[in-house]
């Protein structure tokens, strides 16, 4: 149900955004954006001048003034529309998630075990409810009793059901998901209206959206540019008096609106909202806009090995018979020993055996006794009724077993075991009646394409660190193979924490992903902590983002979304300021040509007349905003080519391009406007 519609302008959204564009004209709302607020004041003045010019002369014709007023109004509406459409898209995305949690009846259970049916939006933090197969979970919570398979496709889009159980790290359930089997007792963990989703929805809605620190800084800079242009325009009046040139209010206000950075000013909040919307589309719920920005600055990325760098668990890749043992015997023994082994490793041994020989029997002889793995024996296996004892386990314990039974240890086996270890694999030694038959090689399978992603991260300047419980030798091998920069081997929860603190002490920003309760402190310590939605409530509270897909590689996407957000702001600011050069060349000669004819030489665009020059500049200034909305919503592409090369590229595209584009645009508009004036 992921509504990954990539269409920028869906008719329904456009309609609501259009309506919002007018509502946002309210000065109280406009005040949040100083650049556009000054445009609104200018528009109001133009409205007055337009009415004034109906009955008075000296300020230009009514029609001319009316057109200027109209274009300024359009400029405002375009800017509002940009923000509104970004909000609408964000809200639509959030709504599709929110739909999943529409009012559902909850079976609230009190301390005496009495069940009452209560509406889900009346559930309070700490309430308990039960959910049985076929029912929808009414709200977010933590399982306190029981185990269930749950269909989370409503949230994640993943159709395979997942198992959630009390205790442990997979105890969290999300409202709107469906219980497929069994019965669970759940404790409500959030107050109504305060779930992560609610927070996220608030973030994309204008009213409660907090500006991020970086956005504040940019707003200050843009405001100061605006003040400079207020100074320029106000002082122009006495200058013009000195030069005996009458200047109309329309011309002054047009010059002002053209000069102030309306392009970036109009798109600034849309860019911010769109950034969060992109995060939401990637199925990440962020708790603040700042977190997304910070993600773009990340220097160090901590990733768990299992599930992120490697596919799930280790897999058997090869049978290595001991000298004098036939491969068939070894495989047969291995299969027998693994038949009742439910671990992924055990299953993978059978898979590997089947791969080599389809006709292999998967039936244990009647009356066999499965021997479970214990920490003491560090092996598992099977005893068959005909007296065969097959064991598989770690080399050390198998060796002891063989030696104790009086068998010799073959050098070839030892060599093989060492070879597998140094290759990053895990050797499992198999014995039959305490005699060593051979070795099974288990290997971590590195996810396809992961090395390329790490390479991309390296180019971005992000250091990747693999966290694993493996021994240093294995960890090193996998780290090298996957292309991570560093690893923490035999990691305990506090190791992550220490590593993060150490990196932060040297000034770096660290991101990590985690799910378990013991990850919570590290998630809180990290600058960007992404908790998996399947994780515990503690983990989700500690982090500043929640990944609905439970996809550990999501961090890479988040980093790029953060960078894109800043780049879009920077390039559009540059573009907006660069535009002013051409606008000056259009408007300033137009202002003075009447009294200083020599300034015709400055009219390098050969614009038709002063009126058409001013109109063309204002029209260009207005229509560039909607033309850039798609760019603002999609974001400027990030290329990991190194900061200096990226600066050169963007400076050329948006700086030089920003100087050239309006010369062409204004000239073209003038060709049309010139015909009508």
């Amino acid at each position: 149900m992921k509504s990954q519609s990539n269409k920028l302008f869906e008719p329904a959204l456009v309609q609501s955004a259009l309506k919002q564009s007018f509502i946002k004209l309210n000065p109280k709302v406009m005040m949040r954006n100083p650049v556009m607020f000054t445009v609104e004041i200018g528009t109001a003045i133009m409205l007055y001048v337009t009415i004034y010019s109906l009955t008075h002369t000296g300020q230009g014709t009514f029609v001319y003034n009316f057109f200027i007023f109209l274009i300024l109004l359009l400029t405002l509406l375009f800017a509002n529309f940009a923000e509104a459409i970004a909000e609408a898209r964000g809200k639509a995305q959030a709504d599709s998630l929110r739909k999943t949690r529409e009012d559902t009846p909850a079976n609230v259970i009190d301390s005496d075990g009495n069940i009452t049916i209560v509406s889900s939006n009346q559930l309070k933090k700490g309430d308990m409810f039960v959910c049985e197969a076929g029912e929808t979970i009414p709200t977010d919570g933590e399982i306190v009793e029981g185990l269930a398979t749950i269909d989370e496709s409503a949230i994640t889009g993943e159709s395979a059901p997942v198992i959630r159980e009390s205790g442990g790290d997979k105890s969290s359930v999300t409202g709107g998901t469906k219980v497929l089997s069994d019965r669970i007792k759940v404790m409500v963990t959030t107050q109504p209206g305060e779930s992560f989703l609610d927070k996220m929805i608030a973030l994309v809605e204008g009213a409660s959206r907090q500006k991020t620190p970086n956005e504040v800084a940019l707003t200050i800079l843009l405001a100061s540019f605006t003040i400079v242009f207020i100074i320029v325009c106000v002082t122009l009046k006495p200058f013009a008096d000195y030069a005996h040139t009458p200047i109309t209010v329309a011309a002054l206000i047009s010059l002002f609106v053209c000069l102030i950075p309306t392009t970036i000013g109009g798109l600034l909040s849309a860019i911010g909202i769109a950034g969060m919307d992109r995060a939401l589309r990637a199925n990440v719920i962020t708790k603040s806009g700042k977190a997304v920005e910070t993600a773009g600055d990340i220097d160090v990325l901590l990733l768990d090995k299992t599930g992120t760098i490697t596919i799930g668990n280790r897999k058997a890749t090869q049978f290595w018979p001991a000298p004098g043992v036939s491969p068939e015997d070894l495989v047969k023994a291995c299969v027998l020993a693994s038949l009742s082994d439910e671990t992924p490793e055990g299953k993978s041994i059978i898979e590997l055996a089947q791969h080599g020989n389809n006709r292999i029997s998967l039936q244990a002889p009647q009356g066999s006794l499965a021997i479970k793995f214990t920490a003491e024996t560090r092996s598992s296996g099977i005893d068959t009724p005909d007296g065969m004892r097959i064991r598989k386990g770690a080399y050390d314990s198998m060796r002891k077993l063989a030696l104790n039974a009086g068998h010799t240890m073959q050098a070839a086996v030892k060599e093989r075991v060492e070879a597998i270890s140094s290759n990053g694999g895990t050797p499992l030694v198999v014995t039959q009646n305490e005699e060593i038959l051979g070795t099974v090689e288990l290997q971590d399978i590195i996810k396809p394409g992961i090395a390329e992603r790490f390479e991309r991260l390296r180019k971005m300047g992000v250091k990747t660190v693999m966290v694993t419980g493996d021994n240093p030798l294995t960890a090193k091998f996998i780290a090298e193979k996957a292309g991570v920069d560093d690893f923490i081997a035999e990691a305990k929860p506090e190791d992550k924490m220490n590593y993060i603190k150490q990196e932060q002490a040297s000034g770096k920003l660290v991101a990590m992903m985690g799910d378990g309760t013991n990850d919570a402190p590290a998630l809180a310590q990290a600058d960007v902590g992404v908790a998996m939605n399947s994780g515990t409530q503690a983990a989700k509270e500690a982090g500043n983002m929640v990944d609905l897909d439970n996809d550990p590689t999501k961090l890479i996407e988040i980093v790029e979304i953060g960078k894109q957000l800043l780049i879009t702001r920077g390039t559009l600011t540059t573009f907006s300021i660069a535009n002013d050069v051409a606008k000056y060349f259009a408007i300033v000669p137009a202002l003075f040509i009447a009294s200083i004819p020599a300034l015709q030489s400055m009219n390098i665009m050969r614009l038709h007349s002063p009126e058409s020059a001013i109109l063309s500049a204002v029209i260009f200034n207005a229509i560039i905003i909607p033309m850039l909305i798609p760019l603002a919503l999609k974001g400027v592409e990030y290329k990991p080519i190194g900061a200096t090369a990226l600066l050169r590229r963007n400076l050329l595209l948006y700086g030089v391009g920003g100087v050239v584009a309006p010369f062409i645009g204004i000239k073209l508009i003038d060709l049309v406007v010139g015909l009508m004036v």
Binding site: A217, F229, V234
Partner: protein, 572 residues
């Protein structure tokens, strides 16, 4: 090659040859490393002991600025009264009168802030006492104040994280004892041997060939002319400044004066790179400034050598270029070279009349002062450039997708806010000042002032506008040169430029020092592949673009109505 051109190439080469080792020396000296001028230590120790100052005491940015302001305010008060009562004080052989309050206000501010805008003429407006103990004294201290402030900026970025910007008194005293004083002595001696007066005797007399008795002002001028250039002050002993034959007797002294006004600003940029152990950053900044300098200088020289189109229309050939307002002993090339340097480094001394230069030359002179960061004044040049740098860092940081950072310190809202205020200060002072002047000229032309506003301007029209714009720009840039021709010794210009001078001096010092202090306190972020390096040519280009665009956008309409309109009307 034409010898005039050779002359300026040689001047530039000599400037570089002196500035490079001087930069290295300054970096070492201010870092407290062992240098050959350590023999000055006993003198410095004596000064500190006398003043009860501990030069080792670390100062944070607020303490540093406080120390700087306390001493500057003291000089303001002291100078104001001495100027008013100079007629009653000794060392006044020519019997010159005391200053009016508004002129004294303007003059004392002008010298305290290293501007040396002169609304008086040295020969008749000052006494030897005030020339010496106000003007010359302040020419040392104001330059040293600027240098000390710049060293605080250096100090902020030398170590990873620090609150200590160094000790103001230490930097200030060392700037004088180990840089300004020794070099001034050398320069003054060269000038004296070439004919610049240095005696305390009063006016001399000679009988001209027409038989008139001519009074010639003189006095201990050589000493002052040395520091006037070395400290990028620019205030002349004589009213005609370095165009005066006694202030600048020959081509050699012209070269000495032009070299001496450039060496400290150039050396400070190189010293910055060496001091913070990022030599390449110093070189990139140096490169940007040099390119900027040539972009202003080459069209200036071309427009002056091209001669005056108005004279050309009369059918007169101008083989030597435009000669109005120029000294024959220097020629137009050296005068054009000087006019560019004196406007970019905020010296403001002149060896020819800027009022008489071609309209486009006036444009380049104005732009040089508006930018005020291509080398710039003693110490303050790099502070002005630093503001541009912060804006460039912020915008380009965004463009590469990282929270902007400068040398490992994150640039956030607070720093941007300060940089934004300083950025808009110059347009505010220059444009509002000129607007008020235009308004008074037009609306109150007959006000009963010492000079009627309607009679302010020697030239009507666009050139007159340029005269007013130039005066305000010069005041804001703390430059001090003038489009003479403006009747500026009256209450309006004395007070308005006085206010602009003091705001245009201290706020652009406060801003950068505050930003540097705030940044230096922040946690140091080590560089990674994602960090935008500021010592690359690309970033240099970005800064250059920011400088050009910011200034062009702020002043375009004013420049169009002044020099540009004059130019196009002239060639019509």
């Amino acid at each position: 090659m034409n010898t005039e051109l050779l002359g300026i190439i040689a001047s530039f080469a000599i400037t570089l040859i002196i500035a490079i080792p001087l930069g290295k020396y300054l970096a070492k000296m201010f870092a407290g490393e062992h240098v050959w001028t350590d023999f000055m230590k006993p003198l410095e120790r004596g000064i500190f002991k006398l003043a009860g100052i501990n030069p080792k005491e670390p100062m944070n940015w607020k303490q540093f600025l406080k120390a700087m302001m306390v001493i500057n305010i003291l000089w303001l008060a002291y100078g104001f009264f001495v100027l008013i009562y100079q007629d009653k004080l000794p060392l006044n052989p020519d019997g010159n009168p005391g200053m009016t309050a508004d002129l004294a206000f303007n003059t004392i501010i002008s010298f305290v802030v290293n501007c040396n805008l002169q609304h008086y003429s040295g020969e008749s407006g000052l006494t030897y006492l005030t020339q010496h103990f106000i003007v010359m004294f302040l020419q040392f201290t104001s330059a040293a104040t600027g240098i000390a402030a710049a060293v605080a900026l250096f100090k902020a970025f030398r170590d990873k994280t620090t609150t200590d910007l160094g000790n103001f008194w230490d930097f200030f005293v060392k700037s004088i004892t180990r840089l300004l004083l020794p070099l001034s002595i050398v320069i003054a001696l060269i000038l004296t041997f070439n004919g610049t007066p240095s005696s305390y005797a009063g006016k001399d007399q000679f009988i001209s060939m027409q038989g008139d008795i001519v009074n010639v002002s003189r006095g201990p001028a050589a000493q002052m002319i040395a520091i006037k250039h070395l400290g990028t002050n620019g205030g002349g002993w004589f009213g005609a400044n370095s165009a005066h034959p006694l202030e600048n007797p020959n081509y050699l002294t012209n070269m000495v004066e032009i070299v001496s006004q450039m060496i400290v600003p150039m050396a400070m940029i190189l010293a910055f790179g060496i001091f913070i152990r990022r030599k390449k950053l110093g070189l990139v900044i140096f490169g940007v400034m040099t390119v900027g300098m040539f972009m202003l200088m080459i069209p200036t020289i071309t427009s002056e050598l091209g001669g005056n189109p108005a004279i050309a229309k009369m059918g007169i050939t101008q083989a030597t270029g435009a000669m109005e307002g120029k000294e024959v002993r220097f020629g137009p090339t050296a005068t054009a070279y000087w006019s560019t340097l004196t406007t970019i480094v905020s010296t403001g001394s002149v060896n020819g009349m800027h009022d008489s230069t071609m309209p486009l030359t006036g444009l380049w002179q104005l732009l040089g002062m508006m930018i005020n960061g291509f080398f710039g004044g003693c110490g303050v040049g790099i502070l002005n450039y630093f503001i541009y740098l912060i804006i460039a860092v912020f915008i380009s940081g965004l463009m590469v997708g990282r929270t902007p950072e400068f040398l490992g310190h994150k640039v956030e809202a607070r720093e941007v806010k300060i940089a934004a205020i300083i950025t808009l200060l110059s347009p505010l002072l220059i444009m509002a000042g000129t607007a008020i002047a235009s308004y008074v000229f037009m609306a109150h032309g007959n006000a009963d002032w010492a000079v009627k506003p309607a009679n302010w301007l020697n030239n009507p029209g666009y050139h007159g506008f340029s005269e007013m714009l130039y005066e305000m720009t010069s005041a804001n840039a703390n430059n001090g040169s003038g489009f003479e021709g403006l009747g500026d010794n009256n209450i309006f210009w004395n007070v308005s430029t006085g206010i602009i001078l003091i705001l245009g001096r201290f706020l652009p010092i406060f801003g950068p020092i505050a930003i540097a202090g705030l940044l230096a306190q922040k946690k140091y972020v080590p560089e990674s592949a994602g960090t935008l390096r500021v010592d690359t040519v690309t970033f240099g280009l970005m800064t250059f673009a920011i400088i050009l665009v910011l200034n062009a956008l702020s002043y375009f309409p004013a420049l169009v109505l002044g020099p540009i309109a004059e130019y196009f009307s002239m060639i019509k």
